[in-house]
């Protein structure tokens, strides 16, 4: 597997602009070519969409919560209320250049179907998700004997919306199973910084707090 070189500062983003955007959003935005058309699935309050639009990208969003949708629309963003599991089916093939799923995969009922739909609707998909193989998670389960909780995933097991956690290794395996081509993969540490690129997969799986993958259809 070949993975493109990842350097800081991120290409195309001036350092001065990076202050108020989340590290993973900057990385996602940098993966998207300017002038392209993007669907952000589970767009929350629209922060990533605003970043994309500021870069001349035609961004659209789907968000489950009414409050989130209304906050996005109040910012002038093209966002509709909808569910990744049930509403992606309404979009035609090749409607977008990129479909982004940021920190939402683990909350879907059918992650595999969602992923397949993303790559049907878009030429490329970008997925970021919390890595359940992160050492802090492992340690909590191994030593603490309880379901892991972190600053980014503070919910208890009984009220979490996250029903399909996976590790970076699991996700890579799913991509192989459904013949998805990995164009680029990045693991971010606890502070949203990319991990050393030449590190082996087990290192990423242990020390990556989240994984970010740029995917395309196999055979393209």
């Amino acid at each position: 597997m070949t993975v493109e070189q990842q350097l800081l500062p991120l290409n195309g983003i001036a350092r001065a602009d990076t202050g108020h955007y989340r590290g993973d959003h900057l990385l996602l935005a940098e993966m998207v070519e300017r002038g392209s058309k993007v669907l952000d699935v589970g767009c929350g309050d629209g922060d990533l969409l605003q970043l994309l639009e500021s870069r001349g990208i035609d961004g659209r969003g789907i968000e489950l919560s009414r409050e989130g949708v209304n906050r996005c629309v109040s910012k002038g963003l093209a966002v509709v209320q909808g569910d990744a599991d049930t509403d992606l089916i309404n979009y035609p093939d090749d409607a977008f250049d990129y479909v982004i799923l940021s920190q939402t995969l683990q909350a879907t009922r059918q992650p595999r179907v969602v992923l397949e739909n993303m790559l049907r609707i878009g030429r490329r998909a970008i997925v970021s998700f919390p890595n359940f193989g992160f050492w802090k998670m492992r340690l909590q389960l191994l030593v603490g004997g309880h379901m892991p909780r972190t600053d980014n995933l503070p919910a208890t097991w009984y009220d979490t919306p996250n029903i399909h956690f996976c590790t970076i290794k699991d996700f890579v395996q799913l991509c192989d199973e459904i013949s998805v081509k990995m164009e680029r993969a990045v693991a971010l540490d606890l502070y949203g910084r990319p991990l050393r690129l030449n590190a082996p997969w087990w290192f990423w799986n242990m020390f990556g707090e989240q994984g970010v993958f740029l995917l395309s259809r196999a055979g393209h």
Partner: protein, 399 residues
């Protein structure tokens, strides 16, 4: 015998209403016999006129025009005192300096729909062939007919492309029809509390209203002008029934509950003991003062016939295929006349057409009428949508 009171005769008389129908207190665009309005029913309506109001100023490159499409029983008097009732305009919360539809930035046009009774040609207007009101000789009109007439008005005003077409309820139907029929003339569309087709339940409510009008002996098969009457009882009942559909159970309960009207005990009669009865009677009687009964028949019929998908092989997405227009669709949680699933179906079709669409459902207990009321979240969303569209259109705020 148990005492019965019905809806009182209107204080505003037929002469005043018919004056407004032919010679309105608005600007009027006259279209002569050489410029007929080709109606869907196959008839060319000629001559005809459109009464309209404007607010704000058209900019030099004519790019800041917003068309407001009014709902079933409103009219072109959006943000000025109504000439018949003396009440403020029906959307003054939304339209004016600094309001979401900002008259400092946009040139706003609202025209009375064809078939209406406030100055655009309709059944209350004088039929030039007979010198008498059209009555039921007026041809059946449709939502696309209304839009076609508005298009002719905009041609007359020299407006090629609308910055935005805005409407709620029947106005939203027109806004969607505008976009489907003339996508290149519409830069953005704000469709509120509406649907791409009138539901069976809504057709049923309209039929109830029409039958109430027709059952009134004062209707005289639509020739009440000649008999010197007006079917105010039938039209009042129609309005009362319709008004219930504009509200919600929760809103009625909050406003009135089971409270009594100026009394503590039931009168054991059919008098309006309950506040909600008194309120509905007031709604009925104030409506008949300003509205023509035949016009009510025609406009409800136009809504019944509305079905955009039917004009596109039954596939809604085809109606909006390749449409460059930016959409904002808004629904209200307690609206059971045009419930959220209707808006969601529209949004799915727009997504399937790859249109740029925002869709917000607003939480309120005020029912369908919420779009006419002071709902801050709705205003914020409308304002932001227009500002974002304005940026894309290159509109700057006027100095």
């Amino acid at each position: 015998m148990v005492q019965v009171k019905s809806i009182p005769s209107p204080a505003i008389h037929a002469e005043e209403r018919s004056q407004e129908a032919d010679h309105p207190t608005s600007q009027v665009a006259l279209f002569g016999p050489d410029q007929p309005l080709a109606l869907d029913c196959g008839i060319d309506l000629k001559p005809f006129q459109i009464a309209y109001q404007t607010y704000g100023e058209l900019n030099a490159d004519r790019s800041n025009a917003i068309l407001i499409c009014h709902a079933l029983t409103s009219d072109q008097h959006v943000a000025n005192v109504h000439p018949l009732t003396g009440k403020p305009g029906w959307w003054e919360t939304m339209v004016g300096p600094g309001r979401p539809l900002d008259t400092d930035s946009y040139f706003i046009v609202c025209a009375n729909v064809i078939g209406g009774c406030m100055g655009s040609t309709g059944p209350a207007s004088t039929n030039p062939a007979t010198g008498k009101p059209w009555g039921l000789d007026f041809p059946i009109i449709t939502i696309p007919d209304m839009v076609r007439a508005q298009g002719m008005l905009l041609d007359r005003l020299g407006i090629d492309t609308l910055f935005c077409v805005v409407g709620g309820s029947m106005g939203g139907m027109q806004a969607l029809q505008w976009t489907a029929a003339y996508p290149k003339r519409v830069f953005s569309t704000l469709a509120i509390a509406c649907s791409t087709r009138h539901s069976a339940q809504n057709i049923a409510f309209h039929e109830l209203g029409r039958q109430a009008v027709m059952a009134d002996p004062d209707w005289h098969s639509g020739r009440y002008f000649e008999k010197g009457t007006h079917p105010h009882r039938g039209l009042g009942v129609a309005r009362m029934a319709a008004h219930i559909t504009y509200l919600s159970d929760a809103a009625l309960h909050r406003k009135f509950g089971r409270r009594m009207q100026d009394r503590e005990l039931p009168t054991f009669s059919f008098d309006a003991d309950f506040q909600v009865e008194s309120y509905l009677r007031y709604q009925g009687s104030s409506f008949v003062e300003r509205f023509d009964a035949n016009s009510y028949l025609y406009l409800t019929r136009a809504m019944d016939y509305f079905d955009i998908a039917a004009d596109h092989n039954g596939v809604l997405a085809q109606a909006f295929r390749g449409v460059p227009t930016r959409f904002c669709v808004v629904s209200f949680t307690s609206d059971w006349l045009f419930p959220t699933p209707e808006s969601r179906a529209l949004v799915h079709a727009l997504n399937a057409s790859s249109a740029r669409v925002s869709f917000a459902e607003i939480e309120t207990d005020r029912g369908h009428d919420a779009f006419l009321l002071d709902v801050p979240e709705f205003f914020d969303i409308s304002r932001a949508f227009l500002q974002s569209a304005g940026t894309a259109r290159g509109l700057g705020k006027r100095a």
